[in-house]
Amino acid sequence: MATRTVQFKIYRYDPDKDAAPYMQDLTVELDPSDRKLLDALVRIKAMDDSMSYRRSCREGVCGSDAMNINGKNGLACLTDIDSLAQPITLRPLPGLPVIRDLIVDMTQFFKQYHSIKPYVVNNSPAPEKERLQTPDEREELNGLYECILCACCSTSCPSFWWNPDKFVGPAGLLAAYRFIADTRDEATNERLDNLEDPYRLFRCHTIMNCVDVCPKHLNPTKAIGKIKELMLSRTV
């Protein structure tokens, strides 16, 4: 099979030498076996070793290669090249400081994740065997525990863009509900207290960009809704 040519427009910025960011036009020859956007980025890097982006597992479980692809956040390794209009425009995830090229500083994102105490709190003496959980109780964690912390959701959320220091954001709130929903966790009240604030939870205005972009098909808006319900039911 013949090779094919694909046009790119890529955000470039190296603070070590560039006064300002710029968009670089590129034409890349691809092999028929290059299916995913990440395959193309590997080809580009072979031509220009200064092209900088994060990547690891190349199968959508590590969450490294999130970026803004033709205006929408997604993972390069799960995006079919042929599904994209050309020139394929690549930018770093919006709303976070850019370190270099497609690499953003995720400090704020992880700070919000850490702020919800992302671990099971259970102060009862641990039994010798596993803590029991029925299949139905375990089922409650589906759609929550699969998050890969890629930040596609939070960095597509206007509320997070405006208040990244105050609004927990969809990824952090999904994680918060993951622990609330876990029958082994004993800290539901503390978790709700932690979110009872004009910004941390209630800045979600159900715009649902998070649901639209999540590469794992998770629904942070639904999880946020459930937290809000719990918050209301304990005040009445």
Binding site: S56, Y145, L149
Partner: protein, 590 residues
């Protein structure tokens, strides 16, 4: 170059399962611990493990750690050390339960216990029939485990250095390990991490092969650093080729698919494993299944226009079972094979997956050279060789290895650190200079070999010369080729000279680690003139005198490769378990 210095009680390199399990132990004991990782912890490759972690919990049917031990020794083709294997299998139920207490979202049985599924090579009653031993969270067990371990470390306030690349191990003149030197990727600045005890938990190096299930980051950094620091590498000829990588893409399809009832079929639709492993069939050991698949393909019974793969069929399974137990696999199959496995079988080929060898340790996680522990140095997980996997690892035993030896090395380090004087030993400047010279060379190199092309040449050579089946002549030629490629690696050039997040430099430094692994592998493989486990050669065929080509009289021993002069030494296999009788040598059949 200015070099900063930080001091710790313990420094851990690598934040996958093994590193983070050790970190829990150390941080919760109150010792000052640093974990250095070149990626954010939950991006480590443990995240990609799918099928399960083995433990004889017996939640669905009777099981016993002794049966697990027997299976592991047999799976290793008797090259595993039986003391370490007993230690691991006995500890399994406890470490899995601990993980559940950390919050791991295991699937559940109707009684609310941890769900277990069958897996290749895991049998009840000393090899009788498949047993449900693999504890699973759908087909995302590694992801669930890695996140649970990270979460436990957040609770323990472990200090992480995220997106730092470890460069070299630092040793005193007497061989004691004094810490590591590492580079912050964002700034390019170099820091010495001085510590009383250092643990390598850097994972595997599957990227020495062209076709691999491994992540881009699996570049054998710890193994390369150890080799440069004069530590020998053990049993590096043994690499596992996982039977079911997606044809073309290399992405892993868990053995749990066969555990849930999946069947391998050739072009004729035949369930061919019945011929190769009449008892265990599709759930035979991975080396056995991979060889059967390649034999089918070589004899013209492969599928597709190129007749270059076989099919993994789950179309007979209930769609609900697939959606509940194997949702990730369905997604991967649609994404990377363009096939919905509910409707059509998945095209698969054996793909490089796991490094059985590594840095030689005992079951306490201490690095052992010449029968003595190297003071201050520990290794755990895929980069280490305890040796529990021997010549072939059983599926789910790698996640178990991480937990058991991550924990035991953490405990050994605590004991060791508490016995050390408060003052840290000075690090010889020459050790630091050696490492800085590698950075300086890359900064100043004009022209030079292209990193991408050189890595590709190494990967193709390893694929063609040291694959599923090995050939005497090809191995010998492979040694020469890899030694030629090594010369290129010593003079790679990068065009990007930026200090900020320089991935070109990272990849050049990673290649310097990969090449050590490639040399160790092909030189050790060329020398071992028998067939055993995953190492099968044309000049060591199955004969009545040597069933399966195994030659215990001459080769029941561990290989040790030394970087210096590519020297090989050997050491005996420990056939003596801790408390039970030796599992006696036997011909391996499934």
């Amino acid at each position: 170059m200015k070099v900063a210095k930080r001091t710790f009680d313990a420094v851990i390199v690598g934040a996958g399962g093994a590193g983070m399990r050790a970190a829990v132990q150390l941080a919760e004991s109150g010792l000052k611990t640093a974990v250095i990782s070149k990626v954010f912890p939950t991006r480590s490759h443990t995240v990609a493990a799918q099928g399960g972690v083995s433990a004889s919990l017996g939640n669905s049917e009777p099981d016993h750690w002794h049966w697990h031990m027997y299976d592991t020794v047999k799976g290793s083709d008797w090259l595993g050390d039986q003391d370490a294997i007993e230690f691991m299998c006995r500890a399994a139920p406890q470490v899995v339960v601990e993980l559940e207490h950390y919050g791991m979202p295991f699937d559940r049985t109707d009684e609310g216990k941890i769900y277990q599924r069958p897996f290749g090579g895991h049998m009840s009653n000393f090899g009788e029939k498949p047993v449900r031993r693999a504890c699973a969270a759908a087909d995302r067990t590694g992801h669930a485990m890695l996140h649970a371990l990270y979460q436990r470390n957040v609770r323990a306030n472990t200090q992480f250095f995220v997106e730092w690349l470890a460069l070299d191990l630092l040793r005193a003149a007497d061989g004691r390990v004094l810490g590591v030197i590492a580079m912050e990727m964002e700034t390019g600045e170099v820091t010495v991490f001085q510590a009383k005890a250092t643990l390598f938990a850097t994972g595997g190096a599957g990227r020495i092969y062209y076709s691999s299930t491994n992540a881009f980051i699996n570049t054998g950094d710890g193994v390369g650093m150890a080799a440069r620091a004069g530590i020998p590498l053990e049993d590096m000829e043994f690499w596992q080729f996982h039977p079911t990588g997606v044809a073309g893409a290399g992405v892993l399809i868990t053995e749990g698919v066969r555990g849930e009832g999946g069947i391998l079929r050739n072009a004729g639709g035949e369930r061919f494993m019945e011929r190769y492993a009449p008892n265990a069939k599709d759930l035979a050991s991975r080396d056995v299944v991979s060889r059967a698949m390649v034999t089918e393909i070589n004899e013209g019974r492969g599928c597709g226009t190129g007749k270059d793969h076989v099919l993994l069929d789950i179309t007979h399974l209930d769609a609900d079972v697939i959606n509940k137990r194997l949702p990730g696999i369905r997604e991967i199959s649609i994404q990377f094979a363009g096939v919905d496995p509910i409707k059509a079988p998945i095209p698969v080929v054996p793909t490089c997956h796991y490094q059985m060898g590594g840095i030689p340790t005992n079951y306490r996680g201490e690095v052992v050279v010449g029968g003595e522990a190297v003071a201050g140095f520990y290794a755990a997980g895929e980069c280490a060789c305890a040796s529990v996997h021997g010549a072939n690892r059983l599926g789910t035993n790698s996640l178990l290895d991480l937990l058991v030896f991550g924990k035991s090395s953490g405990e050994s380090m605590i004991e060791y650190i508490k016995a050390q004087p408060a003052a840290l030993q000075d690090i010889p400047q020459s050790e630091i200079d050696k490492s800085l010279a590698r950075i300086d060379r890359l900064d100043n190199q004009k022209g030079g070999a292209d990193v991408h092309e050189t890595r590709l040449a190494m990967q193709r050579t390893m694929q063609n010369h040291a694959g599923v089946f090995r050939f005497k002549d090809m191995l010998a030629q492979g040694v020469d080729k890899i030694l030629e490629i090594e010369k290129q690696v010593q003079q790679t050039g990068i065009k990007d000279k930026s200090k900020v997040w320089n991935t070109a430099r990272t990849e050049a430094l990673e290649l310097e680690n990969l090449i050590e692994v490639a040399k160790a592998t092909i030189i050790s493989a060329n020398a071992r003139t028998e067939s055993r486990g995953a190492h099968v050669r044309d000049d060591a065929p199955d004969t009545p005198e040597h069933p399966n080509g195994r030659d215990d009289a001459n080769w029941l021993k561990h290989t040790l490769w030394y970087r210096d002069g590519n020297r090989l030494e050997y050491k005996p296999v420990n056939l003596k378990p801790l408390s039970v009788e030796t599992i006696a040598l036997k011909t391996r059949a499934y």
